[in-house]
């Protein structure tokens, strides 16, 4: 009972209190509506008449983020594994991988529009670009961190490279890869929204339009939905991680036997 209180009710308290204060301030017009919409109006935007368009936009953004994120998972793990296979390859290509991390997405988004047009492909690519680097870096670090004695063991039994990769390096790098995926998941949502600012559509497009129309309630509603999306992505990766690592990382049983 006390546990439930501290876990769920306590974190809710600041939200309830803050919402109440904001509602009061906006109703009394101490806080003008052009600066901050009343919480009740944000709620109305999320549930009222025009809400369908907002949720559809959230669905679009979610889809584009998911596509970009999955692209990062696949490409990032593959590229990470290739970079990890030799120091020479790593030295040659890792500066290009770093490029993806350091270049501001907002700066190249207009280029993406020129190349891929207004719409979904640009948004997906934008989500992919910002989320691929953490996957590459995490895979590389995970594989490099494999216990050398285990590599020796596989060498001793003359395991081919592909077998060593599949049965030793990837499983051994999995905790690191999943940490990278947690970061990539959140970044993919951000990348998609930035892409939509330029390419249109989704929550990003909605925020951009609502902003010009002084519809701050819509802006706030869209921000809340993008946070919700980010949380869903993060929670999904956490769940996948718990399932994949349940036998060896999450210590369920630690009984010592002699």
């Amino acid at each position: 009972m006390k546990n439930a209180f501290t876990r769920f009710l306590l974190p809710l308290a600041p939200l309830v209190l803050g919402t109440a204060v904001l509602e009061f301030l906006t109703r009394r017009e101490i806080l003008p509506a052009y600066l901050f919409p009343a919480p009740s109006r944000i709620l109305d935007a999320l549930t009222g008449e025009g809400a369908a368009a907002l949720w559809t936009a959230a669905g679009e953004t979610g889809l584009a983020s998911a596509a970009g994120f999955i692209g990062s998972l696949v490409v990032g793990t593959l590229v990470g594994a290739v970079l990890a296979s030799s120091r020479l390859i790593e030295r040659t290509f890792s500066p290009y991988a770093v490029f993806f991390q350091t270049v501001p997405i907002i700066a190249i988004a207009p280029l993406l529009v020129i190349w891929f047009g207004y719409g979904l492909p640009t948004v997906i690519i934008s989500a992919w670009i910002v989320s691929v680097f953490p996957m590459i870096a995490a895979t590389l670090a995970g594989i490099r961190g494999t216990e050398p004695a285990l590599r020796d063991l596989f060498r001793l039994y003359e395991a081919p490279r592909s077998v060593t990769l599949r049965k030793l390096l990837i499983p051994s790098a999995l905790p690191s890869i999943l940490t990278g995926a947690r970061i990539a998941a959140g970044l993919a949502v951000i990348g998609a929204i930035v892409g939509e600012f330029i390419a249109g559509g989704g929550l990003g497009g909605m925020i951009d339009t609502a902003r010009t129309q002084q519809r701050l309630d819509l802006v706030f509603a869209a921000i809340l939905l993008s946070a919700l999306l980010g949380w869903i992505f993060f929670a999904s990766v956490n769940l996948a991680s718990r399932i994949l690592l349940r036998h060896w990382h999450a210590a369920e049983l630690t009984t010592e036997r002699n």
């Binding site: 004695a149 001793l156 003359e158 499983p171 049983l253 036997r257 002699n258």
Partner: protein, 248 residues
């Protein structure tokens, strides 16, 4: 019977110009239990890696005769944490393409030999240090190797567990006719376990002495309390110290 399992000829190793192993020639007949005894960090582990082919020699050769695949036990158990005990033991067979039912049956047999018949379904993290090392031994033995290389395998264990695993290894050796090379820095461990001890100096490792242990083949707990055991321990200590003194 006496065809050598291993022949080292003028074997040397340096890392970046720094010699680790001075020229070493040595032959090992089939069925021998040899310990490589030397101070910590002297290069005896490197020698074991050269024998296993995990490291190329700088010069000379290490020829394994009719033993193309030696088995190796590392200082740490090094089990794959995402696999069950049984699947860890079966790994070498899996890497050699042995079918699942056969490799699991053979893994189960070796586990039973190690006194771990019921541990197959457990995950490595559920085991104690001593049990993990038994699993690691089982994994090495599952391919029925002719030559077993062990690199200070018991050094991280408590003394009683170390004694017990030593006795287990000795029993296995007596029953199987396996050839064993055991790296250790413990004099009493080398004396208890082996038939023959090669004593090395401090780095770079130079062979100081290569002598037989004057103890009966049948050994047990009581052996450690006998006068002959104490005498041999003192003798090999003297040999080891002569290699340390050369540096000081």
């Amino acid at each position: 019977m006496f065809s050598p399992t291993l022949a080292l000829t003028q074997l040397t190793k340096s890392f970046g110009g720094l010699p680790v192993l001075e020229p070493l020639s040595l032959t090992l007949p089939r069925g021998e239990f040899l310990s490589l005894l030397g101070p910590s960090g002297c290069g005896k582990s490197t020698l074991l890696r050269l024998i296993a082919g995990l490291e190329p020699p700088t010069s000379g050769t290490a020829s394994l005769g009719e033993t193309p695949h030696p088995a190796y036990v590392f200082q740490d158990p090094n089990l794959l944490p995402w696999r069950t005990v049984l699947s860890n033991v079966a790994l070498p067979l899996e890497l050699r393409g042995v079918a699942r039912t056969e490799r699991e049956q053979r893994a189960q047999e070796v586990l039973s030999q190690m006194g771990l018949a019921d541990a197959g379904a457990l995950m490595p993290r559920q085991l104690s240090g001593g049990m993990k090392m038994r699993v690691s031994l089982a994994r090495a033995l599952v391919t029925k190797p002719d030559l077993l290389l062990l690199d200070e395998p018991f050094s991280a264990l408590d003394e009683l567990t170390r004694f017990r695993l030593g006795e287990l290894l000795r029993d296995l050796w007596l029953k199987s006719g396996l050839t064993v090379i055991f790296v250790t820095h413990s004099i009493s461990e080398a004396v208890y376990l082996s038939e023959r001890i090669a004593v090395f100096s401090q780095r770079p490792a130079r062979l100081i002495a290569d002598e037989r242990v004057a103890l009966p083949r049948e050994r047990n707990k009581a052996t450690r309390g006998e006068e002959s055991f104490a005498r041999e321990t003192v003798r090999f200590r003297g040999l080891l110290e002569s290699g340390m003194g050369a540096q000081k």
